[in-house]
């Protein structure tokens, strides 16, 4: 990182209006969302709660935009010394770790369900007794196609898992191609970074463009898969634990890809404006870290949700 700014004091901003108003935005957003969900479940009108949530979201987004703009301006003005930049590096690294732990909760739930809860419900092992008493007919299986109580949770028709380990199968298997696309996007993003460090802005923008395009294609294919899952396979959020784990894991991943794509679009625009220098571009690096993280999560998903 920049060495020219290493001989300055640590910049501590005097006052800031952003966090307080961001908190207000956040409050109205979650209050509105909570009301929206309650109104939905109660079958009430959604108008008021939707507007509250939207207003909160817009206020929060506006503030965050301004906040980032200020930080970028300060960096360009040379206020940020090396030490301050290291604070951002630590901050981003540990933020990503917190995201890892968020996904760990859902992966942990999946492992527990597959290796313990469902077999126990099927009557297996030391804790199988309850399952045998409650639903003696129930057969443990994964993907779980027949739920313990199909009157409460409608059964899906079939699972999305790999049927056979053959080339011809994978060639027509959507999640496999999504894996290829996302891994490729990590590689193209790396080339963009290389181009940035080589001060080749044209190449940088080209590679960024390819990366963003791959991200959007991935999301499109995911949407297609969701349509398939709901329509053809009958896998829905309320079709039992297979659908629950499938949609929450892939859904939160998809949400993170959406956010990552948005961040990369912002980075693409910033690349076009020439914001980044070969020795000073942590905003870009942080976005790249985030994208690689999202990629790694997908590899975990592909192995544990689709392959196995």
């Amino acid at each position: 990182m920049a060495s020219e700014s290493s001989h300055s004091v640590y910049y501590v901003p005097e006052q800031t209006k952003y966090p307080f108003f961001a908190s207000i935005g956040l409050f109205f957003m979650v209050f509105g969302l909570g009301s929206l969900l309650n109104d939905m479940s109660a079958g009430d009108s959604l108008a008021v709660s939707t507007w509250i949530a939207l207003a909160g979201f817009l206020l929060l987004s506006f503030i965050i935009f301004q906040w980032f703009a200020t930080v970028i301006r300060e960096n360009h003005a040379g206020l940020n010394n090396d030490q301050l930049k290291r604070s951002y590096v630590w901050g981003m690294a540990w933020f990503i770790f917190s995201e890892v732990m968020f996904f760990a909760a859902f992966f942990g739930a999946l492992f527990y369900i597959r290796t313990l809860a469902v077999p126990w419900l099927g009557g297996e092992g030391e804790k199988g007794l309850a399952g045998e008493v409650l639903w003696p007919e129930f057969q443990a299986a994964w993907p779980l196609i027949v739920n313990p109580d199909p009157t409460l949770f409608t059964n899906p028709h079939e699972g999305l898992n790999v049927k056979e380990w053959s080339l011809s199968f994978f060639a027509g298997y959507l999640p496999f191609w999504n894996t290829v696309i996302l891994i490729t996007s990590s590689v193209t993003l790396h080339y963009a970074h290389v181009a940035l460090k080589a001060e080749n802005r044209k190449r940088l923008i080209q590679w960024m463009f390819v990366t963003v395009a791959l991200g959007i294609i991935f999301l499109g294919l995911q949407a297609l898969e969701y349509v398939e899952a709901y329509g053809h396979y009958g896998i829905t959020l309320d079709s039992g634990i297979y659908g629950s784990t499938f949609f929450l894991l892939t859904g939160f991943h998809g949400f993170h890809v959406t956010l990552g794509t948005f961040i990369l679009i912002v980075m693409l625009l910033r690349c076009m404006k020439g914001h980044f220098k070969p020795n000073d571009h942590f905003g870009f690096e942080a976005a790249a870290w985030y994208w690689h993280f999202v990629d790694v999560v997908w590899v975990g998903l592909f192995i544990f949700v689709y392959l196995l």
């Binding site: 004091v9 209050f31 909570g34 942990g108 527990y112 809860a117 419900l121 959020l237 634990i241």
Partner: protein, 534 residues
């Protein structure tokens, strides 16, 4: 860490004093202001959570239903736990971290000052959302602070949705706060402040921050599953769809057990600062304190199912979680030994902070021992969900965590305000709290062993005597806390001028700056010769 970056070539920094009026507090980026905000917020929540506790103890003063109906009683137990854990104890430690860590490591401020403000200001809104559920149709959360499914999903009041979102945003606040602490400690230490020279309060907070970042997202994950079970028909915690309510407990306690160490490790740091000061000796076994803290943090991740022995799990699981839990007694024992060894042959005086610190060592150890009792799986089958458990965790949290916070407040008040607090009132506060807390919680051990279940508004007649003693203790303890409020207000308004050193035996960088600490400190790093090994 390199010291190259902290070069004080530019001494022309244009920092002013605090801004005037309310905007000082709304928009501040100053670690001392934000620390003060956290401390006042947590004290307000302490009084609110304490009020809920007094409702509980008033109802339990006699057998029978006197004041509140059982559903409201359940809301009180739930809100008391949530407010005390997330609103009082955790923010109080974050407030101390804000105030003291930059002063202790010679940093100009926290690493990310704007985010620091955001971490704080989310909290009042989060608690506004959470406490407002009490006034909603159907009432507030009534499923206990552990919010076990399906009580918190299938059978929950509608307000649970707001509770979930409140947990989400306070979790975001905690994660941001923890990231800030880590970045500050790893990146902002003055030249010469090596890791093994850091005061133990800084060490314990570094490790606590790691725990926070590791487990708060898991809490966010588990409440999200609840949200989807409630509103979108998923079956994570419903066996009819192939899920398992026990899964909730595993996920919750994977968060919940490290969470209890989040509330006690900084307390260890505080006590490790106060005891050497008033024993006028160096802390015994500094290195072993650091390693013990790290061991406790590591073990906290592999003991969670000891909260669930009676729920049912394979024998191998019960044995593993029993032994792993007992192992925690080893590093904890190292700490207690070190504190006692520090006092051994010390030139001790007993000012209020020291009184609270010694009470901490004794009473926390009682809570630790009952913890070992509860770790014994077959014995836990007897103790589980009785008042014995209530007594256990209140002994580690009230005369444990809360006493350490009182000790910290008295210890650093002169540094914060520039005046000495009223020692007579401080001692009165200590003795009333000490007597109150033991009257309150000690009889609950006997109640639990005799079989009184927790979280009930009414009980069998044989429990009446110990319950009224406990309730008397509760009101004594509760109202004694107003003395602390009085002491703090008096101390802010004036009194005997405090010197920079304040306490004769105190060590560390925070005692090298004037009292009250100037608005900005260590804008240029302190002289490395001031930094001594602990």
């Amino acid at each position: 860490m390199s010291s190259a970056a902290i070069d004080h070539a530019h001494d022309h920094d244009h920092h002013h004093g605090p801004a005037k009026g309310i905007t000082r507090w709304l928009f501040t980026t100053n670690h001392k202001d934000i620390g003060t905000l956290y401390l006042w917020f947590s004290f307000a929540m302490f009084l609110l959570g304490g009020t809920f506790a007094l409702v509980i103890r008033a109802e339990l003063f006699q057998p029978g239903l006197q004041f509140v109906d059982p559903n409201f009683f359940n809301q009180m137990t739930t809100m008391h736990g949530l407010v005390m854990v997330f609103g009082a104890v955790m923010p109080a430690f974050v407030g101390l971290a804000n105030w003291m860590i930059p002063l202790m490591i010679g940093a100009p401020d926290m690493a990310l000052p704007r985010m620091n403000n955001w971490s704080f200001w989310i909290l009042p809104f989060a608690f506004l959302l959470m406490v407002s559920t009490l006034f909603m149709e159907g009432g507030g959360p009534n499923f206990g602070w552990t919010f076990y499914a399906p009580l918190s999903t299938t059978y929950a009041p509608d307000s649970v949705t707001y509770f979930i979102f409140a947990v989400h945003i306070m979790g975001a606040s905690s994660i941001m706060g923890a990231i800030n602490v880590i970045a500050t400690i790893l990146n902002m230490r003055a030249p010469g402040m090596t890791l093994m020279k850091m005061p133990l309060f800084v060490w314990t907070w570094l490790i606590t921050a790691y725990l926070l970042i590791a487990v708060m997202p898991v809490l966010a994950g588990v409440v999200t599953m609840m949200l989807f079970d409630i509103h979108f028909g998923t079956s994570f915690f419903n066996a009819a769809g192939g899920g398992d309510p026990v899964l909730f407990q595993h996920l919750f306690w994977f968060f919940g057990h490290p969470e209890v160490y989040i509330m006690i490790l900084p307390a260890f740091g505080i006590v490790s600062a106060i005891i050497p000061t008033f024993a006028r000796k160096r802390l015994f076994g500094y290195d072993s304190m650091v390693y013990a803290t790290a061991s406790i943090a590591f073990l906290s991740f592999i003991v969670w199912a000891h909260h669930m022995f009676t729920v049912g799990m394979p024998l191998a699981g019960q044995l593993f979680f029993m032994y792993a839990t007992m192992l925690i007694a080893v590093p904890t024992g190292v700490k207690v030994f070190n504190w006692v060894a520090t006092m051994f042959r010390g030139a001790m005086t007993f000012e209020t902070p020291m009184l609270f610190a010694i009470a901490f060592v004794v009473l926390f150890t009682i809570g630790g021992f009952t913890g070992v009792m509860l770790a014994i799986t077959p014995a836990d089958f007897q103790y589980h969900d009785t008042y014995f458990v209530v007594a256990h965790f209140h002994y580690v949290l009230v005369p444990g965590a809360v006493f350490s916070l009182m000790a910290a407040a008295y210890y650093w008040l002169p540094k914060w305000t520039g005046y000495m607090y009223d020692e007579t009132l401080g001692k009165l506060h200590f003795w009333m709290s000490f007597v109150g807390v033991n009257l309150l919680f000690f009889p609950q051990h006997f109640l639990g062993l005799a079989g009184m279940p927790r979280r009930i508004p009414d009980y069998a007649l044989q429990f009446a005597n110990f319950n009224w003693i406990s309730s008397v203790g509760a009101f004594l303890f509760g109202f004694s806390q107003l003395i602390l409020l009085l002491v703090v207000i008096k101390c802010i308004r004036g009194g005997k001028k405090a010197t920079a050193q304040v306490w004769e035996g105190a060590q560390g960088l925070e005692w090298t700056v004037p009292s009250p600490a100037p608005y900005h400190t260590f804008e240029t790093p302190p002289d490395p010769s001031l930094i001594k090994a602990q």
